[in-house]
Each structure stands twice: as structure tokens, then as C-alpha cells.
């Protein structure tokens, strides 16, 4: 009995040992050699288009911005590339940041350069809500003409470039304010006004 037991016992242990070695080797092959090959084949053969769209860093959207000229008080168009996606609201934030940043062709921004775009939200009802930092009201001493230009540069930039935007509401530091500088009523949503734009 004892001998038999001794003769039997090493055998399953050996089998177990061999099996586990085989398992380890297979696992190594699976995770290294075979695995890599599979991933490569997956990328090459099946989905070359998905990474091209979602990862391409150069994806841009052309936006039209509205600036002031030195000689008249109309708004003048200037196009610019901004990074595209993932949402229209984020593209809108970038477009407004460019509007504040100023013209590349010597035109004038109607907004104070210190202004920050805190957030743009585009609702399903077509109302875009723009939240500016307090600088938008505090850094300029607006006259009527300047205040109209500031408001409609923002409103037109959003409505012109983003199909989902029909009306624009302007907030300052997250709250509704009467005006930027005592003139234009901010408590109502604005429709774009292209009569202020130079032909």
C-alpha cells in the first residue's frame, strides 16, 4: 500500500507540473506573440477609419468671427480655424475665445481682452447661453455703439457658425445682468442681427 501510494503520488504531481509549464508557455505566447499579432491584424484590417477620425489631431472647424474696423462701425468678418469637437458648445467656446483674442488682420475686438468665456451651453430649444467672466462688463467703459458691437459680435458669431443656435443669452459670472454697460438689455434672448455687418 505504502509502495503503491508512493508510486502513484509522484505521477499526478509530474503531470500537474508539466501541465502548468505548458499553461505558462501558452499564456506567454498568447499575451506576447499571438496577442500582438492579433491586435495588429485588428487595426490593419478592420478599423483603419475609426482612429483616423477620432484621433486625428488636426481636425478643425472653420469659424467666422465679427470684428470692428478702424474706419467704420460695422462688424467685419474674419475666418479662423478652431479645434473641432467633441461638442458644438466646446467649439463655440473656442470661437468666442478667438473673438476676444482679437483679429489676425488688424481689426479690433469689441470685447475687453481680459474677458474669459466661462461656459457655453446650447439648449435643445436653440438657445445658446454664454457665460462670461466679470471682465466683459468691468474692463470697458461702453458707449451705446460699442456695447451694441460687443453684444452682436458675440450673438452673430454663435448664430452664424452653429446651426443649432437660434438665439443667444448672455450671462456674467453665471448670473443674469441688466446690461454690459448701461445700454443693451441682456435680460432677453438675442436674435442675430446681420444688418450691423459690413457687406
Amino acid at each position: 500500500m505504502a509502495k503503491k501510494k508512493k508510486a502513484h503520488e509522484p505521477k499526478p504531481a509530474l503531470v500537474l507540473g508539466v501541465l502548468s509549464v505548458v499553461l505558462v508557455v501558452l499564456a506567454i505566447i498568447f499575451f506576447t506573440g499571438g496577442g500582438r499579432e492579433k491586435v495588429e491584424r485588428f487595426i490593419d484590417a478592420n478599423v483603419p477609419k475609426i482612429p483616423a477620425v477620432s484621433e486625428e489631431p488636426a481636425a478643425t472647424k472653420t469659424v467666422t468671427l465679427f470684428f470692428l474696423d478702424d474706419d467704420d462701425d460695422f462688424l467685419h468678418r474674419e475666418t479662423r480655424q478652431v479645434a473641432a469637437g467633441p461638442t458644438a458648445a466646446e467649439e463655440a467656446e473656442r470661437a468666442l475665445a478667438e473673438l476676444i483674442e482679437g483679429s489676425e488682420k488688424g481689426l479690433l475686438s469689441p470685447l475687453p481682452p481680459q474677458t474669459k468665456v466661462r461656459q457655453v451651453f446650447i439648449g435643445k430649444d436653440g438657445v445658446a447661453t454664454v457665460d462670461f467672466s466679470r471682465d466683459v462688463a468691468e474692463k470697458f467703459a461702453y458707449g451705446s455703439t460699442m456695447e451694441l458691437a460687443a453684444v452682436y459680435a458675440v450673438v452673430n458669431t454663435l448664430a452664424f457658425n452653429f446651426k443649432a443656435v437660434k438665439k443667444v443669452v448672455i450671462l456674467i459670472e453665471g448670473a443674469e445682468k441688466d446690461t454690459l454697460g448701461g445700454h443693451v438689455d441682456l435680460t432677453r434672448a438675442f436674435l442675430p442681427d446681420y444688418s450691423l455687418v459690413a457687406r
Binding site: 462701425d73 458707449g143 451705446s144 438665439k167 445700454h183 432677453r188 436674435l191
Partner: protein, 263 residues
């Protein structure tokens, strides 16, 4: 922030209220003429004030000081030549909120409202005089309301019962100017013609803009931009007494012509 649903509800409430009011007091066809005859008080609003300086000039002149100076001269002229009571929304350098300015006009039953401003632009070259009246952000709802009110422009205030303390009254006052757009445009045109004749500045014409100060006023209301404080030449004119007197004189003549105008 008001959402559109809220606004639609307000519009519906307003329309309902006005229809109810109409049923009680039918409107005669010649209301505007009667209205003019009934004008007793003219409210003049010197733009900005106190902490709120308005636009600034290169030589340090502030819009708030110029608007007050012109307004005081205009008040004296109108009282002397036309015999109306003139109320100023401020007669010294103090902050007055936009709501309080329109409340002063409405509480004093203003027959005409004139807001005095000096303009400002980013560009030094931009110059001239212009007169504004209210533009509605022409949403469908507001256009319908405007069309309705224009065709029935009797004195809005007589239809707003001051004892109705609820939201309805606020809603009515909120867009009180909608009933007076046509008269406001006529007043703006006549005042602008006189400014053009007297000042020698570039005529920028009459314009419509969504100005907060005009929206809540329940009578014909205009906003005069006498000249540009951001233009160095015009800044010096605006600061000079002779020019301020000319501006006041021009506005006064425009008012007189408006009041004589046949309906």
C-alpha cells in the same frame, strides 16, 4: 434666467389680460391725439451716474457728467418754453438703477421720456449724433404682441390697475414700450432732424436698439446719443457749455414739433 416657456406663458397671460381689459373699455380711433393733449409731464433721464460713469473720453470727461449737464439745460428749456412739468430721473451724480428710472417715468405718468447719452466706440474716428428708439428682438411672440398693441395703442397705464399687485402687473410693465413704438419712432425722427440742423455733427440717423432703459417705459421714449465722447474732437464739444446748450435746444425743438404734429 427666463426660459422661453415662461415667456410664452407671460405672452399668453398678457394677451388674455389685454383682451379682458378691451372688453371693458373700448378704444376710440383717435387716441394718439388725445394722448398728446393729455401730456402733462415729461421725464428726462440723464444717462449713467454715480459709480457707473458710462463712456470715458481721452481728456478725462465722463459720459455721466455730460448727460446731467445737458439734461438740466433741457429741463429748464422745456419748462420755460412749453409749460410742462419736467421730472429728472436724477439731478445729481448718483447711481439710479434702470428699473428705478423707468419706474419714475411710469409713476409720474410721463407723457414723453427722453434719455440723454454721449456715445462711445472703440475707434477714435467714429463720430456723429443719433437717436434711438426701442427694437424688439423680433421673436414671433413679441411681433404678434407688438402688432396687437400698435393697433390698440391707447394709454397702457389706464388699463393697468395699480392695485393689481401680482405678477401680471410686472409682466405688463416689463414690455410697456411695445405699445408706443410708432410714436417713439416719430419722436426720434423729429429730434434727430433738429440735432442734425443745429449741431453740425455727422448725422447717424435714427436707429432701433434693444436698450433696457426704453423697454419698460409706458410712453413714447427715445434715447439721444448727442455725439461721441470717444472721438477727441467731439469730446471737447460735449464738454463745452455752448454745445450742451445746442443739444438741449435741438431736443426741445424736436419735442415741440412732435407735439404739434397732426395725427
Amino acid at each position: 434666467m427666463r426660459d422661453p416657456i415662461d415667456r410664452t406663458a407671460r405672452g399668453a397671460a398678457l394677451a388674455a389680460a389685454l383682451l379682458a381689459a378691451l372688453a371693458v373699455c373700448p378704444i376710440s380711433g383717435q387716441v394718439p391725439a388725445e394722448q398728446k393733449a393729455r401730456i402733462q409731464t415729461i421725464v428726462i433721464d440723464p444717462g449713467h451716474g454715480g459709480m457707473e460713469t458710462g463712456a470715458k473720453g481721452k481728456f478725462g470727461n465722463l459720459e455721466k457728467d455730460i448727460t446731467l449737464a445737458i439734461s438740466l439745460k433741457l429741463k429748464a428749456l422745456v419748462e420755460r418754453n412749453m409749460g410742462f412739468e419736467v421730472v429728472l430721473t436724477r439731478d445729481k451724480d448718483v447711481d439710479v438703477s434702470i428699473e428705478n428710472r423707468s419706474a419714475i417715468a411710469n409713476n409720474r405718468k410721463a407723457g414723453l421720456f427722453i434719455s440723454i447719452h454721449a456715445n462711445g466706440a472703440v475707434q477714435k474716428k467714429v463720430a456723429g449724433s443719433e437717436t434711438f428708439f426701442l427694437s424688439l428682438n423680433a421673436t414671433d411672440e413679441e411681433t404678434r404682441r407688438l402688432a396687437y398693441l400698435e393697433n390698440n395703442s391707447s394709454a397702457l397705464q389706464s388699463r393697468i390697475d395699480p392695485s393689481s399687485d401680482d405678477d401680471l402687473m410686472m409682466i405688463l410693465w416689463d414690455m410697456a414700450q411695445t405699445a408706443y413704438i410708432k410714436q417713439s419712432s416719430q419722436l426720434a425722427e423729429l429730434v434727430q432732424e433738429e440735432l442734425d440742423a443745429l449741431l453740425g455733427t455727422r448725422n447717424r440717423g435714427i436707429k432701433q436698439a434693444p436698450f433696457k432703459i426704453l423697454a419698460g417705459v409706458a410712453c413714447p421714449a427715445i434715447l439721444v446719443e448727442a455725439a461721441f465722447i470717444s472721438n477727441p474732437e467731439e469730446e471737447q464739444k460735449l464738454a463745452a457749455e455752448y454745445f450742451q446748450t445746442k443739444v438741449a435746444d435741438a431736443i426741445c425743438r424736436g419735442l415741440a414739433r412732435y407735439l404739434r404734429m397732426p395725427e
